[in-house]
Point group: C2
Chain length 416, copies 2
C-alpha cells in the first residue's frame, strides 16, 4: 500500500445515512424490517441500491437468480475480481443490519475509492445475494448456492412461498431476472462482512471478529405419518396422532440441545405443518424442520446420533411413522488462511482489536468457499439480538469493521 | 300405540339408497366424504335434503344460522313438536355415516309415516344442524349452540375458516340465511341417532346404545408467548421458542391421557398455529387447542388439575409464557330419563338388544338438553373408526336403531 491508502477510512456518516435509508424500506414492527425476498420492498431496495452503485461509478449486472453485481473496474481488465457483499433481504421480524451492513459497507468502499480516485489492480465487485434468509423461499442462502453450482437453477426457480408463488415467478414479477449466466467465472476472493448475531464481541469489547470457520450444522426435514380418527372416543392405545409424534420429537431435540449446551451445542425446531389441523380430528400428517449445530464436527456427529435415537424412540412413543425426507449441512467449510490473514493484518494496521471466532449462523460465504478463497468478518451487535426488531448496532461499533473490510479488500485487489 | 304402528318398520332399502345418494355428494378420498360446512357440496346436499323433505309432505323452514327444519304436522297444531335430527356436514376426512344417519334416518321416519298415512298428535320435525363438525368453523356444534341460546348469533357469524371467510358470509354465499329467528320456541323433546364412533356395540354384538350421559369433557385453547431470535447462534439458555413450549405441553397432555387410560380417560391435541413459521427464526407465538375427557366428572377434574400443573411445568421448561385464552366443557349434561326410557321401551317392543352407555364425542344433543328433554341413540360402526374415510356401518347394523328411533319418537309424539 502507498501512504494515501494506508490512512484511508470510509465516510462513517455517509455509511450510516445509507444504512438508515435502507432502514425505511420495508418497515416491519417497531424499528425493524420485514423485507422478504422478492417482495415489493425488496424490489424498492434493489432499485435504490442499483442507483447508488451506478452513482459510485460501478457497472451493474444481474444474474438469472437476481443476484446483483456492482463492478468497479481495475487496472488489469483480465484479472478476476475481488468480491465483497452479503444480502439486503430480511427475516419476518428482521433487523436493520443483518446482511445489510455487508452490502452497504461494500457500497461505501466503492464510494470511498471513487471519491479518492484510488485505482486497484483487480476489479472489485459488490454483490447482493438474493433470498439469503430463506424466510420466504426455503432453503436459506439459495441464490449463492446456485451461483456456486451447489443447487440447480430450475430447482431454485420452483421453490414456493407460503402462498404457492414460485421463486421464478416472484423474481420475474419484480423484474430482476437478469441475463448473466450463473457463476462459471473466476472470482479472485470473496469477503463478507456481517453482524455477529451473537453476544461475544460485545461482551469482550472487541471490534472485529475474524471468522476462521463455522459451527458444524446439520438440519433435516421430518415427516410424521399418523392416522385420522375422532379426537374424542378413540382410546389412547389406538391413536396415531402425527402432532403428538412431532411434539415428542421437538421436545427431544430441544433436550439434546441442552445436553450439549456446555460444549456450545444448540438445537432448533421452528417450523411445523400438520394436516388436518382441526379440533375434532387426529392429524394424519406432520412435517417439522429441525437443525442442530456444534463448534466441532465431532460434536455435531454425536448430536446427530442422539437425534437418530430420538426419532426411533418418539416414533414408538407417539405410535407414528417418522421419515427423514430432506437433509442439509453447512459450516464444515474452512475459510481461506490467506484471506483470514489479510483481515488480521488490516486490523493490525488500523490498530483495531480483533479476535478469531466461529460463525454460528449460515452465510452466503459458506457457499462461496466452493468457488474461491473466502472469509467472513464480524462486527458486534447489541446483546446478540437478531432476527428480532430489537436488533441493533451502534455506528461506532460498525465503522471499524468496514474499515478493516476496506483494507483487506484493497490488499487483495492490489495483490500481484 | 295401535296395532298398525306397533308393527311399523322403516323401509331399509329406501333408507340405504338415500344414504348412498348422500355418499356421492362431496366425495373425499377413497370412499369418504369431505363435505365441509357451508361449502358447495354442503349446499348441494342441503338442496337435495330440502327437496326430499318436501316430497315427504313436510314444511321446510331455515333459521338464521342455516339450520333446516322439516316439519310434519300433527293433529294438535298448538302442540310443541318432537324434534329428531343430527348433521349433514362432515370432517376433512369424513365418513358417510357420522351425523348423516341421524338426519336421513329422521327423513326416513317422515317418509314411513307419510306412506302409511299415520298421524301423530304432535308435529315431528327433522333438523339438520349446521357446522356440527367444526372442521371449517370452530367451535363444533356451533349452530345448535346458537339455537339453544348458549352462543350469540353475531359471535357465530364472525367465526372464520382458514381462509378468513366468516360463517356469516359463507352462509349467505350458499343462500341458506333463513328468516326464522333462532330458537325461542317450545320443543317437546329432541332425539338424536348417531353412529357410536367407538368399538363397544360392535364388540358386544348389541344393536342399540341407549346413551344416558356423556364423557365429562374439558377443552382449552392455549397461547404460548416466546421471542423471535436467530435459530442458529442463540444459546439454549437464551431461547424462548414458542413451538418448543407448545411441544412440551402437547407431549405432557398426551402423557396425562395415558395416565387415565385404564379409567377410560383420553386427551387430545390436534391443532396448532405458530408465527413466524420458518426455518431461520425462533417463533414468538404458538396456539394449541387441547381437550381431555373422562367417564366421570371427578376424573375430568383430576385430569384438569394435572393439565394445570403441566402448563406451569412446561412454561418453565420451555422458557415461554402460557396463557389459557378460551375454555369449554361439555358432556356433564344428563339425558332426560323419560326420553331414555322411551328408547329402551321401543327396543324392548321390537325385540332389539340394547345397552346403556355414555357418549365420548360431542353432539348437538348436548346443546339441546338446555332447550328440552333430550336423548341420544347409538348404532354400531365398524371397529369404531370415524373421522376417517374407512368409517363404515352395515345396513343391517343401522336399520334396527332407526326403527327404535321411529318408535321412541312416535311414542313421544302421541303422548298426551
Amino acid at each position: 500500500m502507498n501512504d494515501r491508502t494506508n490512512l484511508l477510512q470510509v465516510d462513517a456518516d455517509r455509511l450510516w445515512d445509507t444504512m438508515m435509508t435502507s432502514a425505511r424500506i420495508g418497515p416491519g414492527r417497531d424499528q425493524g424490517l420485514r423485507r422478504l425476498a422478492l417482495d415489493a420492498s425488496d424490489k424498492e431496495m434493489r432499485d435504490v441500491f442499483v442507483e447508488w452503485c451506478r452513482e459510485a461509478g460501478a457497472t451493474v449486472s444481474v444474474d438469472r437468480m437476481g443476484n446483483i453485481f456492482a463492478r468497479r473496474h481495475g487496472r488489469d481488465a483480465a484479472a478476476a475480481p475481488v468480491m465483497v457483499g452479503s444480502h439486503l433481504d430480511t427475516q419476518f421480524t428482521g433487523g436493520r443490519f443483518d446482511g445489510i451492513l455487508g452490502v452497504l459497507g461494500g457500497l461505501e468502499i466503492l464510494r470511498t475509492l471513487d471519491e479518492q480516485g484510488i485505482e486497484t489492480r483487480r476489479p472489485i465487485e459488490v454483490v447482493n445475494w438474493s433470498n439469503e434468509e430463506g424466510a420466504r423461499f426455503n432453503p436459506p442462502m439459495l441464490a449463492s448456492a446456485v451461483f456456486a453450482g451447489l443447487r440447480d437453477l430450475d430447482w431454485a426457480y420452483a421453490r414456493t412461498d407460503n402462498d404457492g408463488i414460485t421463486y421464478g415467478s416472484a423474481l420475474a414479477e419484480i423484474g430482476y431476472v437478469g441475463d448473466t449466466e450463473m457463476g462459471g467465472r473466476d472470482i479472485d476472493a470473496y469477503f463478507e462482512l456481517h453482524i455477529e448475531q451473537g453476544p461475544i464481541l460485545e461482551a469482550e469489547g472487541i471490534a472485529v471478529g475474524v471468522v476462521t470457520h463455522g459451527y458444524a450444522t446439520r438440519g433435516m426435514r421430518l415427516r410424521f405419518e399418523g392416522e385420522t380418527a375422532h379426537s374424542g372416543p378413540t382410546p389412547m392405545d389406538q391413536r396415531r396422532n402425527a402432532l403428538v409424534g412431532a411434539a415428542y420429537l421437538i421436545a427431544a431435540v430441544n433436550d439434546i440441545g441442552w445436553k450439549y449446551h456446555d460444549e456450545g451445542g444448540k438445537s432448533t425446531a421452528s417450523q411445523i405443518a400438520i394436516w388436518p389441523n382441526a379440533v375434532g380430528i387426529l392429524p394424519e400428517f406432520a412435517q417439522v424442520s429441525i437443525d442442530f449445530r456444534h463448534p466441532e464436527v465431532g460434536g455435531a456427529e454425536r448430536m446427530f446420533t442422539d437425534v437418530e435415537a430420538a426419532i426411533e424412540y418418539c416414533a414408538a412413543r407417539g405410535n407414528v411413522g417418522i421419515e427423514i425426507v430432506d437433509r442439509w449441512r453447512f459450516g464444515v467449510e474452512r475459510f481461506d488462511p490467506d484471506c483470514v490473514q489479510l483481515v488480521r493484518d488490516a486490523a493490525d494496521d488500523l490498530g483495531i482489536r480483533y479476535m478469531d471466532m466461529q460463525s454460528q449462523a449460515g452465510h452466503d460465504a459458506y457457499n462461496m468457499t466452493h468457488v474461491c478463497p473466502t472469509t467472513l468478518i464480524f462486527c458486534p451487535c447489541e446483546q446478540g439480538i437478531t432476527h428480532n426488531e430489537a436488533e441493533n448496532v451502534a455506528k461506532e461499533d460498525a465503522v471499524p469493521s468496514v474499515n478493516v473490510l476496506l483494507h483487506a479488500v484493497l490488499a487483495r485487489a492490489n495483490r500481484q
